[in-house]
């Protein structure tokens, strides 16, 4: 195998095809291609729904040098279709995975990036189980604020994220662990004292969204009615 990854497949683990996970994967794809690598984006939900042939992954995985996983956090860990996917590729394509590089990017709406630790650790354990080279995981808190926006539409925040992801891409294409500086750069720092006004802002947004669709009763024990 070549010492520099040249073919990278990026799996998006969100069922939303235009969300923040896709936006991040899209940026990585552009950055990989800028460095001369070929990179494709695939949606895990397409394999789950049977829209993409799972058996076709055998050839794909045999051919690539590195895999990237991009997913939101669902209830403190990986979304269920991602669990399904990782288990199934382990059962069916372990020999194709062996020796390949793996990195992961997870995001959530909460500002506390440590919440993403179980998700990223599961990705590392997947790499371990398949004798892959784990290049590291990145966590982004505040993904709901991005809400699928493309980096070029996010002004300074987008520029910082792109510059940070560029460093990660440099490391990945050299088959090196993603340097810790990348995580420091993308970590949203909101002091805990600001959580109350943040909660108030998010709650206001929720009420506005409900009002827009004519919903007035948001609280209540509806399952017991």
């Amino acid at each position: 195998m070549s010492s520099k990854p040249q073919k990278i497949i990026l799996f998006v683990g969100s069922p939303r095809k235009k969300g923040t996970s896709f936006s991040f994967a899209r940026t990585f794809k552009k950055l990989f291609e800028y460095r001369g690598a070929t990179s494709d984006i695939e949606f895990i939900i397409d394999y789950y729904d049977g829209k993409a042939a799972f058996s076709g992954l055998k050839t794909v995985l045999a051919d690539i040098d590195a895999i990237g996983l991009f997913m939101p956090m669902y209830v403190d860990s990986l979304p269920a279709p991602v669990v399904w996917f990782l288990k199934k590729v382990t059962l069916d394509f372990q020999s194709e995975l062996r020796g390949k590089s793996l990195f992961a990017v997870s995001q959530c709406g909460f500002p506390d990036v440590t919440l993403l630790q179980p998700s990223l650790e599961s990705c590392r354990l997947f790499a371990q189980a398949n004798t892959m080279k784990w290049l590291g995981g990145l966590g982004y808190g505040g993904g709901a604020i991005i809400d699928g926006a493309l980096m070029e539409d996010l002004g300074k925040k987008g520029e910082n994220l792109t510059a940070s992801f560029r460093m990660a891409v440099e490391d990945i294409t050299e088959r090196k662990s993603i340097r810790p500086e990348v995580q420091k750069r993308i970590t949203v720092r909101i002091p805990k004292i600001a959580y109350w006004p943040l909660a108030a802002f998010l709650n206001h947004r929720t009420r506005q969204a409900a009002k827009k669709v004519g919903v007035t009763k948001i609280k209540g024990k509806v399952l017991l009615e």
Binding site: E121, T206, K221, V222, L223
Partner: protein, 182 residues
């Protein structure tokens, strides 16, 4: 008092028998779900349960039975083989779809942003099963159950069981975990 047992294991295991015995002895009404036998769709992140149909998922499948039981129950038991340090797929589908148990609002407690829960205080018991021991996977599983508990504002306990463990050992572990909470 009610309990909802969500069993994501594929085969029969002694845990159900032990839980039946322990919980029935305390007069607890049990709803048991063998998740592999149910039609469960994954969450599509449509957001409906937040502000269009607050507290209810719009997907039509067996999850409506499961989540009603979770809402009614004080004790929630998750039984799962540990997969990459997390829950098996069948259980994770249920957990992802349990968002309607919380409100789409936020509040702050102990420095964490949390969703208020609609259905009162719960006790969460996570039971992870291993065929081949892996301390790192076990650690991550424990962290995950603790995080779920924190987010649900639920008391929580975690047990990790080797598939070769005998029934008496399993019974002791479950008794210890349930302790004085039940």
């Amino acid at each position: 008092m009610k309990a909802a047992i969500l069993d994501a294991t594929e085969n029969e295991n002694p845990i159900k028998t032990v839980l039946d015995k322990k919980l029935s002895a305390k007069g607890i009404e049990i709803s048991y779900f063998k998740l592999n036998n149910l039609n469960l769709l994954p969450c599509r992140s449509c957001g409906s349960c937040g502000n269009r149909t607050p507290g209810k998922c719009v997907q039509k499948d067996d999850m409506s039975l499961v989540i009603k039981s979770m809402a009614e129950s004080y004790l929630l038991v998750y039984i799962s083989t540990i997969i990459f340090g997390g829950y098996a797929f069948q259980l994770k589908k249920v957990i992802d779809r349990s968002m309607p148990l919380g409100e789409p609002f936020y509040f702050v407690r102990d420095g964490h942003l949390l969703h208020p829960m609609r259905y009162g205080r719960k006790l969460l018991l996570g039971i992870g099963l291993f065929k081949d021991s892996n301390p790192e996977e076990e650690d991550n599983f424990r962290v995950l159950v603790a995080r779920n508990g924190m987010n649900m504002q639920a008391s929580h306990q975690t047990i990790v069981i080797h598939l070769a463990d005998n029934g008496m050992l399993i019974e002791n572990e479950i008794s210890k975990a349930l302790g004085s909470e039940i």
